[in-house]
Symmetry: D2
Subunit: 337 residues, 4 copies
């Protein structure tokens, strides 16, 4: 940590900072510039925020040097992690495709979606049974019935399954039926939920909050891993910016940035990021070219009848065509798809 | 709702849109411009998103006209709502001051804070017993013990009390001890929690998510009110922008905007917005001048020993001086403080 | 400056950094933490960016400590600057009001606006003769004829005058007619224009770019002052954020932040920030309460006939009422208005 | 255009809107919903903003339907444009590579850069002679001498050349030496400069402003084309967001969005977008996979000695390796590189 003192800080103020640091076990180095005194301090990263240094008169700012996460850091595991979900290995040499409808609606829809995405090459089926919706008046999901439909469709098509959980009750129900649980973007900083999935013993798909920094996203993953669950897959799904031509701005540079900082696999959801099915294919290709370990794509047997997010869903033919294109890009990246 | 058709949309495509609208009870008006066909449709706002219009070939975009919220709308209640929390009336002619430490730490701290803010003119004591923290390694709150300390300190100083709740368990515990419950910025779109506080029978302080639009914030309030709880107070606390000179950017124009759209009271938290105690006083003054119904200010008996958010906390003397300044601005606004 | 080395940096890499720093006259201090080597370096702030340190293998990041601006810094002038524009003193104890229409349209409009704003208490008349417009097909200003109308109206009403300049030609023309020149938000990083106004010998109103950080804004002011012109007034006019309920988000915390960093006066333009005349009055009041030295308000004799920005313009009666309200807030702040 | 009236708007207010529209040649359609009156109006898109409709009492909002640009719109030219710069065709079946140093420094540097990028497959050499820098104390470019070095190096390596222009003087000088002129991100809304390059008779590379919406970017292109110059190439270079792990956030979805709206070619600059040479290669690959027509990459013979932007520059070997990777992705996209 580096503590920068005000131009006008007096000796007693500098002493106060040094005393506070030494009391807490930090080793101190003073660097006196022409206009500023800078105090370098070596010690425990985790307690910096509780030292209250910024409140000591004369302190201009405090700059932490170490990253705040540990368990997810690339520094403690040089090789990338591989997360197994049934037969799918996310983070390995194969590109993994997760696909399915936004919301589970009925058995026919799920069965039809499962068969279609399986034929096209997906290995994990998605489908929402608990839908966090902006409006209290929108369709909120089929809950338990939806989980059953998802599980049956996945099994019939020999796919693994993933669904979003939103609280303890939905998590407990889901664990009976699915292979992987998802924490959605709006819950990325719902720390109670992060702790719960950290203890659930099942792989977790952690979506980036639409206005979370990469550091905050990794801290959310740290919550899960710190509870003992190392099987976390990160999912970039667009961030909120001033641009409104797309629903969110897909931040593909997050892929190589996360890969350099953390050892967890990273996949991309171009459907939610763009909100527009015409943009899903180019953004899926770009995600693979940027190094993503997999894709999460919304596919609905009949998008114009979808109860949720129809405008961003592909139909089975469009998805099959997308997968063909991805195979070419994946091959250029030296990956199977 | 207005549906804009593509330049190239053919007759069958237009027919498909019209059929879909008519099937769902909408009345239709076609407006043919030189280059675009625009279809105006009058009907139920709540079902627009499930019509899947954007997925019909030839549709360029769908523009809703009505606001998505109803119960919180100024249109259904022309006069502003007043929310009573013990003796404090939020939204009335008096400016209401909520103050206290970020986290409850021990009985002495709470007692000392309560006496100080009461003397300065606050009527509601805040204090966190359940702390959602970015890092799993940071102090997470004293939970039940904290609630007791908060309640005792508030009672001794004749103050009402408010605390943040983060899930069902913390809500149930809090209802035993506090007069008002707070939903924090990170949980503004935790819809399960919104429903729970909507049924809890106690006034709710709903903080704006740091990247929520005003419309999303009002939809979150709509969740609470739609469960039968009309006692919702909105709290602006800064939004995330590119500017990093302050922790967040305090959006004071949200006050008059919300006042024009909704009938709920609006207060402001300049402590979290700026993250810097030197900016709290000017921003508190500005909030009152912009029309805020109250303020939420972090006050700690000894900020440099605070376990949480010390750098943004005022000490008792600073808070008393702030309240003096606010009285002058409030008087200029024709309000008591 | 602080240079943080990679965990894996070897001795030769550290040597390379040290050599590069020493060659350029920096004094070096090494701080060895458990996981990182940090190199503190004391020397010339201005050459840091040309050292290419980030390109040396093993360097993780470079953190400058000193601010990049000098001449505008509060550190070299503890007392705030006061800029004189004819009889108006911006930055002194009086609140200064600049008002007038977005664009100069004709002599009657300017005369009528000038008389109205003067009566209400403004001391500087604004009016655009060169309009930077998003569309090449929009009205672009009356140029020389507009300058003459502005000057005549200002003189008749005994007001000073200010107009926006956009290049060398418009600057040269304007210097014949106005007392102060304005650099608009879109030109805040047009460094050629900044240099030109830095040599023009007339006070400069420098608007903040709508996506400029405060540091970039101060660097733009540094450009002007470094050419010898100290008479720079900063104008906050809203920043671009994700919120679209207002045209931009007025960043009032910029006022106390700038005041702490720089010695230049700061005024606020709530008309452009909000784009909505109903928000101008509350945001003007808030700006004064936050410590602004003045206000820039769009006033048009007949806003619904305005060629430009009518929706955000006040009419003369609304402006007079606003000024009455401001007087109350200014008085509460200990200022005359 | 659609005009939405307030719930409370009376008959005279509706009449006032209709009169105003009819006076200006608009054809009117009224749609009366349960709670709102909506007026559809068909007429000239270009005059909407001067109608002052928002200022008429009772008007809630005005929603334009048509896009504000015409000449760059895909609607007037279904096939994409191809821009020729010497032998390079941007927008055709080949991926075009522009490369070179940020700033021209000396003849050896330019010669060495030109040879290296040519060998690797680039066809256009870049090099800045006029540098818009955030600090007035940074290196500002070699101007005329720099243009000569750029021209000589390009000619010797049989490359076309491009350089940034910042005002009339730099444009006039540059036209003597380079094949294409660039308008930088900070000048994207410098409308005087846009008009000048619109009349210069040379292809223009128009960078997206770092906080410009896609619509504003296309309007900037419209300025150039409206002056008679159709040879405009758009360049995405990252937008400003809250994320600070990268300098800017590269918005690759802008590529398919622009392609759907406009007929101009689009290239991508991953060097400025990320500010980090380690991210240039993955982002370059992703840009090609998203459908970019070319790339602009910073290459310096010795990045650690670069006077400008060394941290984001590739050295010749890294650039050659990047080009190898791009060939694979381009081939997967059915393009030569």
């Amino acid at each position: 940590m580096v503590v920068v003192m005000d131009l006008s800080a007096g000796e007693e103020q500098v002493d106060a900072v040094q005393r506070r640091l030494e009391e807490n076990g930090f080793e101190i180095h003073c660097i006196r510039g022409v206009k500023r005194l800078v105090i370098g301090a070596v010690g425990d990263r985790q307690i910096i925020s509780s030292l209250g240094l910024e409140t000591i008169p004369g302190v201009m700012k405090v700059i932490p040097i170490m990253k705040p996460y540990k368990l997810v850091s690339r520094e403690i595991r040089e090789e990338g992690s591989v997360v197994r979900v049934k037969n799918a290995l996310i983070g390995g040499s194969n590109l993994v495709s997760i696909a399915g409808p936004c919301a589970v609606e009925n058995p026919e829809q799920m069965h039809s979606a499962a068969q279609a995405v399986s034929r096209a090459g997906a290995t994990i089926l998605r489908g929402g049974a608990f839908k966090p919706r902006t409006s209290p008046y929108s369709f909120q999901g089929l809950e338990l019935e939806g989980l059953k439909m998802l599980a049956e469709a996945a099994e019939a098509a020999n796919l693994a399954s993933v669904t979003e959980v939103i609280d303890q009750a939905s998590l407990e129900m889901s664990l009976e039926y699915v292979d992987m649980v998802q924490v959605g973007a709006r819950n990325m900083q719902n720390y109670q939920l992060l702790r719960l999935v950290g203890r659930c013993g099942r792989p977790v798909l952690l979506k980036r909050g639409f206005s979370a920094t990469i550091e905050e996203w990794l801290m959310a993953a740290e919550y899960i891993v710190s509870e003992g669950n190392e099987n976390v897959v990160l999912c970039e799904r667009g961030i909120r910016t001033f641009e409104n031509a797309t629903r969110n701005t897909l931040d593909l540079s997050a892929i190589p940035v996360v890969k350099s900082l953390a050892h967890l696999p990273v996949i991309v959801d171009p459907s939610h990021a763009t909100g527009d099915r015409r943009l899903v294919t180019p953004m899926a290709r770009a995600a693979v070219a940027a190094g993503a370990d997999g894709l999460l794509i919304e596919v609905h047997p009949d998008p114009k009848r979808a109860l949720c997010d129809g405008p961003q869903s592909l139909d089975p033919d469009e998805y099959a065509a997308l997968m063909e294109e991805l195979r070419l890009i994946a091959a250029a990246m030296g990956r199977a798809a």
